[in-house]
């Protein structure tokens, strides 16, 4: 079997937080704490977690926008941390990114054609005529007109802007697109359109997504596999249907129950508290303090990701189901 499209090996990112007292000891925040992941081409991967769980940091480290503190990220078997600046630049054509805020991710002073062509303009050996043609192609692929290239970003709605961001990400025909909360800044009615577009492009453009979201429904729509992240660690991974049908980790369960539904069912567990995770790591399971099933063992011993059935893995001493 060939190398996975994207592989993360013990990826970790630690931030040093400023101390309260001058010259006092600095607290370390483990934003991403030893993540392993193998992403197969054609099987989009979703990462779900609450705000502050380290999912955006993970996304940025995965495509070398931030330098991981330890561990490595491999694109098609080639290490990103070992690559020279030139090599990395060439590799970026294969991995693009879609950002959360379509109002912030497009330069307000550039016309759409220029915004979209930017990744392509950085690849050697693409002629000007070819660039113009592919910008038009790309705009049409996301449901806009080629003539829209002459306008400025502020002339478009949020949903249209996110389409532009998608057109931009796809113009180099990348194999991997990292999408960090691609629809959470959009109206609900527009969210579905953009998600459907992304799902369609998966087939037509042959792209595999690494999708980051706090919303299980968004991830479910596009991804074949899901990982649930809590305080920088995967607590559960597996194929989408399997994981959603029979979550093994209490945190996954709580996330599922917290999602609003039209016909309200009685939540099976208490909804997750909204307190942001505090820095510093305890000895035991990071989720123990919020877990309704936590026992003595959870507080003393950190669980590891243990395989269950058919690629479904969970990090819990007392898995549900």
């Amino acid at each position: 079997m060939s190398a996975p499209l994207l592989q993360l090996v013990d990826l970790a990112k630690t931030y040093r937080l400023a101390s309260d007292k001058p010259f006092g000891p600095k607290t370390l925040l483990r934003a991403v704490d030893g993540v392993n992941l193998a992403l197969t081409a054609g099987r989009s991967f979703g990462i779900v977690g609450e705000s502050g769980s380290g999912k955006s940091t993970l996304a940025r480290c995965a495509i070398a926008l931030e330098k991981p503190s330890s561990g490595d990220s491999l694109l098609m078997g080639r290490s990103l941390s070992q690559a020279s600046r030139r090599e990395l630049r060439a590799m970026r054509a294969h991995m693009q990114m879609i950002f959360q805020d379509p109002y912030g991710s497009l330069d307000p002073r550039q016309k759409i054609a220029k915004v979209i062509a930017e990744p392509l303009a950085l690849i050697d050996g693409v002629s000007r005529a070819e660039r113009v043609r592919r910008v038009a192609e790309s705009l049409e692929a996301v449901g806009l007109n080629a003539a829209d290239g002459r306008k400025y970003p502020h002339e478009f709605s949020g949903g249209q802007r996110q389409r532009i961001a998608i057109a931009r990400a796809l113009i180099t025909r990348p194999k991997l697109v990292v999408a960090d909360e691609p629809v959470s800044a959009l109206d609900v009615s527009v969210q579905a359109q953009v998600l459907n577009l992304m799902a369609d492009l998966q087939q037509s453009a042959g792209v595999t997504y690494l999708l980051i979201s706090h919303d299980l429904a968004v991830v479910e729509h596009i991804c074949d596999e899901i990982a649930v992240i809590y305080r920088g660690r995967f607590v559960e991974t597996g194929p989408t249907e399997k994981l959603l049908a029979a979550p093994a980790h209490p945190y996954t369960r709580a996330l599922l129950d917290a999602a609003p539904k039209l016909r309200a069912e009685r939540p099976q567990t208490a909804p997750p508290e909204t307190s942001a995770p505090s820095p510093g790591a305890a000895a035991g399971c990071a989720y123990a303090e919020r877990c309704p099933f936590a026992k003595e063992r959870c507080r003393n011993e950190a669980p590891r990701l243990e395989p269950r059935t058919d690629g479904h893995r969970a990090a819990c001493h007392f898995p549900l189901n």
Binding site: L65, G104, P108, Y152, R168
Partner: protein, 280 residues
């Protein structure tokens, strides 16, 4: 900019309109003086000294019989020359330093910013006097002295605005597409800080005009026979009781230029600020 064009909004902005009119008046005077003045501005005609304004001499003559109207026209030239070059020096070096500071971060940023703080600690005019006194009086040295003090100012303004721009997501998007820091600075950061710089340049232009007048008044700027509003003021001082108008006319000219540039800067700030644009 499509819904409500720059010029459509400019027409409704009184400070921009008045400022632009006054600046055009001064620029027009300078341009006119290149091809025509009523009399040669430096021509001494002692028999006709200290004449009251008349049809022959619109603004009268000074103590050496030079035509004041001609001198005012020619003086506009020096003021604009000083403003353009002094601001140009500040913009070219200051913006470059500011962009480097914002892009490089860390030690380089600290070094550049502390150096510009250091330069800021000295009163600019005092330093300009010191520089011209050391290297010799004259327009060229005056321009350089004024320009040097625009450098840290533009460096600071550029760095502050560039840092705000660099925190935005499209910079990260550019990095994700493989763009290097130099290309990002020129293609993304600079166009987005340009409005702030244009406004600042207008205000600094006014300050430069004033500084040149001050240096020339002190005898450190334009030297006779070169005509400058500041030099005219300085010469008028001796005859303030006999012929106050000799001080009033160049004073008015300076006032028109400085007021015009300040109003223009205010107007541009409103017109180029995207937040204000959205609200109106």
């Amino acid at each position: 900019m499509s819904k409500d064009g720059f010029f459509a909004r400019a027409r409704r902005n009184p400070s921009f309109l008045v400022g632009a009119a006054l600046v055009l008046l001064v620029a027009g005077a300078a341009a006119l003086s290149l091809v025509w003045t009523p009399y040669p501005p430096a021509a001494i005609d002692v028999p006709h000294k200290l004449l009251e304004p008349s049809a022959g001499h619109w603004l009268g003559t000074d103590s050496l019989g030079r035509d004041v109207a001609s001198e005012i026209l020619a003086g506009a030239r020096i003021s604009i020359l000083v403003g353009v070059i002094a601001v140009g020096i500040g913009v070219i070096f200051g913006v470059a330093l500011g962009l480097v500071a914002a892009s490089a971060k860390g030690v380089v940023e600290d070094l550049i910013m502390r150096l510009s703080d250091f330069a800021f600690a000295f009163p600019a005019l005092l330093m300009a006097i010191m520089l011209t006194a050391t290297f010799g009086a004259g327009v060229v040295n005056a321009i350089i002295a004024i320009g040097v003090f625009n450098v840290p100012l533009f460096a600071r303004v550029t760095r502050a605005s560039a840092n705000a721009v660099m925190a935005r997501e499209f910079i990260l998007a550019a990095r994700a597409s493989g763009k290097g820091p130099v290309a990002i600075a020129f293609e993304h950061v600079l166009p987005n800080v340009a409005p702030v710089l244009i406004v600042q340049a207008t205000i600094q232009f006014a300050i430069a005009v004033l500084a040149e007048a001050a240096l020339s008044y002190l005898g450190l700027g334009a030297q006779p026979p070169q005509t400058s509003w500041g030099r005219m003021l300085s010469e008028a001082q001796n005859l303030l009781y006999q012929a106050p108008r000799l001080a009033v006319f160049p004073g008015l000219a300076i006032m028109i230029a400085v007021l015009g540039l300040n109003l223009l800067g205010d107007g541009l700030r409103d017109l180029l600020d995207p937040r204000l644009r959205a609200r109106r």
